[in-house]
Symmetry: C2
Subunit: 145 residues, 2 copies
Amino acid sequence: MSTSFADAATLTHEQLEEGTAFAPRFDAHGLITAVAQDQGGRVLMVAHMNAEALRLTIETGEVHYYSRSRKALWKKGETSGEVQKLIGLSVDCDQDTLLLTVEQTGRGAACHTGRKSCFYRVLKDGKLVDTGEPRLFDPKEVYGY
Amino acid sequence: MSTSFADAATLTHEQLEEGTAFAPRFDAHGLITAVAQDQGGRVLMVAHMNAEALRLTIETGEVHYYSRSRKALWKKGETSGEVQKLIGLSVDCDQDTLLLTVEQTGRGAACHTGRKSCFYRVLKDGKLVDTGEPRLFDPKEVYGY
């Protein structure tokens, strides 16, 4: 199976927003924002994909991102074992954001800090308060730092 | 109340990821990605905030974004009446993404197409399939186009 995407520039506004053509609008850096949510509605993480990461995600059913800090394709879980299985993929109205529904395998930690979700702090009176999310792995053991 | 943010550049990696200082990392354009989710876990929309939009959101309890297409501060619902009330605000591990829990007031439509969520299409066999999300308002009536 070879995945190709439509070119958003060839679509009308109506086609982009209401049509069936999948035309992900990668930005000037070739990236698109991807929000990963579990089946219970918990937002686990927000990252970016380039076209290759998106193709590999669709073709393998395992989520791939593009790491902006490492400037490299990044299969989620390649180091940690915390692979994300793709359950569903949605796109927003203007096709510049993806919403992934995933099953977080491994120990269930999407975050590199070892927590289930990257969103483990809430703002209260101007300060961040840790919600007490447990660490499901020790990042020092997994990443060696 | 005057809201100020910490400068992420003055924080250690540990302080940024585990500390109590709220240091939203605006990008080179002065923007940060914000995901808005309702209390049931439905992701409604993904947009951007500049520092002013974030301050106003926190100070007024009504969600403000920055419109990249209009290059202007944008109070959600200012035209449509679909104001978002802020219930909670989380930040991710490296503080470059915000997760807002909101109550979507008005007719309950976060999307400018009149639907509850901007994510009303799923990818299936390479094509987008409309999930049948009803329109809660007629965008032609609301926006005049």
